[in-house]
Amino acid sequence: MKKWVFRYKFAVLMLFVNLGLLIAYPALGRESFLHTRDNTMEMLYIIPPIFMILGLLDVWVPRETMIRLMGERSGIHGKLIGFLMGSMAAGPLYVAFPVAGLLIKKGSKLSNVLIFIGAWSTTKIPLLLFEAGALGWSFMLTRFVVNLFVILLIAGLTEKLLNASDKEDLNKRAQTLST
């Protein structure tokens, strides 16, 4: 019970902030609750398939297979898999973190997981189509091509700049987080 309260303390705090807003500025507070409701509905729509796939991956894909596909010596294939997985996703970036945690736990190379994160954040296919519609094809395509390199650079640099103990800490987090 105590643990439950501790884990949800910020969520409860934000609920009270929003309630306070509703009392002090009824119109603003109401609008805020409506935004939260709309976003919650959208999240509830997106989340079930992603976490179902995550659970099935965890149970069915052995660590050795994941190491072969996305591990230290997976080469260009690991990068490609990370990129494709991220691009085929749906939902905001913070939904990607639990999936990334699982990929690390199963022995993926950190930079490949960061490529997955990068792709999820900027090259999701539905997003690209929407972007082309709103801002034009040349804007979208230029951003897409430049981002291919930027995603690789960010992933490579982040991994290079972390030392062995940072990586060990990262692996420990992954082991304890996704049960």
């Binding site: 910020f10 969520a11 934000m14 902030v17 807003l21 603003l28 507070g29 609008e31 805020s32 609750f33 935004h35 939260t36 409701r37 976003n39 959208e42 999240m43 729509y45 989340i47 992603i50 976490f51 179902m52 659970g55 099935l56 965890d58 149970v59 069915w60 749906a90 905001p92 970036l93 913070y94 973190f97 639990p98 945690g101 690390i104 950190l110 960061l114 900027t122 539905p126 929407f130 972007e131 519609g133 709103a134 801002l135 034009g136 804007f139 230029t142 951003r143 930027v150 960010i154 640099l157 982040t158 700049l161 972390l162 940072d166 800490d169 987090r173 992954a174 987080l177 996704s178 049960t179």
Partner: protein, 159 residues
């Protein structure tokens, strides 16, 4: 539309899993729930923050912030706004498009879109939970820096 495809894939895999091994399938669903419940407190917090943010920061306010100033200071401001705010894409792209129509600079818009997608100040606590402080700070600052490069190239290509 795309989410429908994800549902079809997930359901297909679930059925295949169930036909092969019922016990393992049950285990997978329990793991799915646990992974979700693990992150649920942060999800709820973020959903409230987005709600408050969207009601306080009206599109007009954001437009004034990133559409007004030009040059590097304008770009920097746009990058900060993108990094701090959490605006869903279906709001951000049409907003960016109308800003461009109203005379905002292409580089300001590009850097805003770029940091909005890649940098997440508000979601950092969640990212730290999975990646640790150092990796999270590195990824976000690198993404922030490279957003300017992306913007300058887009600005050069589209005139």
């Amino acid at each position: 539309m795309f989410t429908v495809i994800l549902y079809i894939i997930a359901t297909g895999l679930l059925i295949a899993s169930y036909l092969n091994d019922r016990k393992k399938t049950k285990q997978a669903l329990i793991k799915a729930w646990k992974a979700f419940e693990n992150i649920l407190p942060q999800f709820i917090t973020i959903l409230f923050i987005i709600g408050i943010m969207l009601s306080l920061l009206k599109p007009e306010t954001i437009s004034r912030l990133i559409g007004g100033e030009s040059g590097f200071s304008g770009m920097f401001l746009a990058a900060i706004v993108g990094a701090v705010t959490l605006i869903p894409a279906f709001v951000a792209f049409p907003m960016a498009s109308s800003l461009l129509d109203n005379g905002a600079g292409i580089m300001q818009i590009a850097v805003f879109i770029s940091t909005l997608m890649m940098v997440g100040i508000v979601t950092m606590p969640m990212e730290i939970q999975y990646f640790g402080k150092k990796a999270t700070l590195l990824r976000n600052s690198l993404a922030f820096g490279f957003s300017f490069l992306v913007a300058v190239i887009i600005g050069g290509v589209i005139q």
